[in-house]
Amino acid sequence: MNGIQVDINHLKKGEVSLGTSIMAVTFKDGVILGADSRTTMGSYIANRVTDKLTRVHDKIWCCRSGSAADTQAVADIVQYHLEVYTSQYGIPSTRTAASVFQSLCYENKDFLSAGIIVAGFDDKSEKGEVYSIPLGGSIHKQPYAIAGSGSAFIYGYCDKNYKPDMTKDETVEFMKHSLSQAIKWDGSSGGVIRLVVLTKSGVERLIFYPEDYENL
């Protein structure tokens, strides 16, 4: 490295980023995570079928927004931590997973651009939980969370239409409508809508194509 000058900030600007619409919603039987599938470098769509919903434990998943490289690295480290945790102390709670995310995001806040939603289903209490970890590395437990650039356009819609303890079908409809609006108004969001449903019965993936959600 000696003699080679690297301007990290210049490199960072060109980085692949998840200018995103992501959300996670608790409901009667658990929790559902949702995301669009667009990844951009500036205004070029680097990947139009991205999977932004990432497993860190069997029933603890996260939605990633911000730098793709940063959030993948953080998710990988958390997955490692939870694997070790499981072998030593048993299945971690969603809170525990979220606080590992939080520690990493807080301690390295100057080097990361990562906005993460952690959502999980706890088999013991049979409850879904959602934690939002925005840019600075604070942590916020919420009944539902939205994040990413597209979320700015759906704060009003979600606030008006979210109800606690919805059924699975109601929740899927709510998320489809929300993400559809986010994608419609945010240039950095697009592609398909991916959902991951976490309940007692396990993990289920759903996918909705533009023709499914564009004209709801």
Partner: protein, 278 residues
């Protein structure tokens, strides 16, 4: 001890030809000379009790505290070299604090006992250190209920319903076994306080010429809100009264039962202290 070390006892990290680590066995000896400690596990909590021999009349009564708190929900009492115990407790506190920092939840008792025992075990491996001269009884409450463990100088760590260590352990263990035989439909922490006091008083019988002070702490979901605390003054007084009362009965009734407190001991520590393994 039946054999002397013949050169193999000078260093940790060297086995004797018959596969023993003499330094660890000598550490067990230090424990066996220590004041008696007892731990009792109930459904809703744990109780710790320790005998404090009054080595000088100049000591301020009640101010020289022996039982320690590792985390808010975990207590610890030990017999043997007291400074070794204090050092180990400090290590335990670090472990508990680190766990909480990363996972934002209190460390489970089992995890703490495991980490402490691994630390103790490491002190049997290197010739630059000596093993810990203590047996530590560690217990508390976590999300899975109450737990009680005992860590020995070798690094052995077992879970117990009732644990005893120190000079009076044989008598104490015998009493604890009888106690658990009697209380088949569970034991409340409040009763366990009294019983712990009684066990310490009985264990002290062989050491009668020395005065002692009794210290009791508890950690209970119902009584202390899951926190490890010393028992209130009135409960302690009540327990001591009960113990003294029972002791009179014990001296008259069970005098032929003294085999339990015989001096003879197996040389290896492995039968030591385990009363009714969990």
């Amino acid at each position: 001890m039946t054999s002397i070390g013949t050169g193999y006892d000078l260093s940790n990290s060297v086995f004797s030809p018959d596969g023993r680590n003499f330094q660890v066995e000598y550490a067990v000896k230090a424990v066996e000379n220590g004041a008696t400690s007892v731990g009792i596990k109930c459904d809703d909590g744990v109780v710790f009790a320790v005998e404090k021999i009054i080595s000088s009349k100049l000591l301020v009564p009640k101010r020289n505290v022996k039982i320690q708190t590792i985390d808010r929900h975990i207590g610890c009492v030990y017999s043997g070299l007291i400074p070794d115990g204090r050092y180990l407790v400090n290590r335990g506190r670090e472990e508990a604090s680190n766990f909480k920092k990363l996972y934002t939840k209190p460390i489970p008792v089992s995890a703490l006992a495991d980490r402490i025992s691994q630390y103790v075990q490491a002190y049997t491996l290197y010739n630059s250190v000596r093993p810990f001269g203590i047996s530590a009884i560690i217990g508390g409450i976590d999300e899975d209920g109450s737990h009680l463990y005992m860590v020995e100088p070798s690094g052995t760590c077992w879970g117990y319903k009732g644990a005893a260590t120190g000079k009076g352990r044989q008598a104490a263990k015998a009493e604890l076994e009888k106690l658990f035989d009697r209380s088949t439909d569970g034991l409340s922490v409040k009763d366990a306080i009294k019983e712990a006091a009684r066990v310490i008083y009985i264990a002290h019988e062989d050491n009668k010429e020395k005065d002692f002070e009794l210290e009791i702490s508890w950690c209970s979901a119902t009584e202390t809100n899951g926190l490890h605390k010393f028992v209130p003054e009135n409960l302690l007084e009540e327990a001591i009264e009960y113990a003294k009362e029972q002791l009179e009965g014990y001296e008259e009734g069970d005098s032929d039962d003294e085999a339990a407190s015989s001096d003879e001991e197996p040389a290896t520590g492995d039968a030591d202290g385990d009363v009714a393994m969990e």
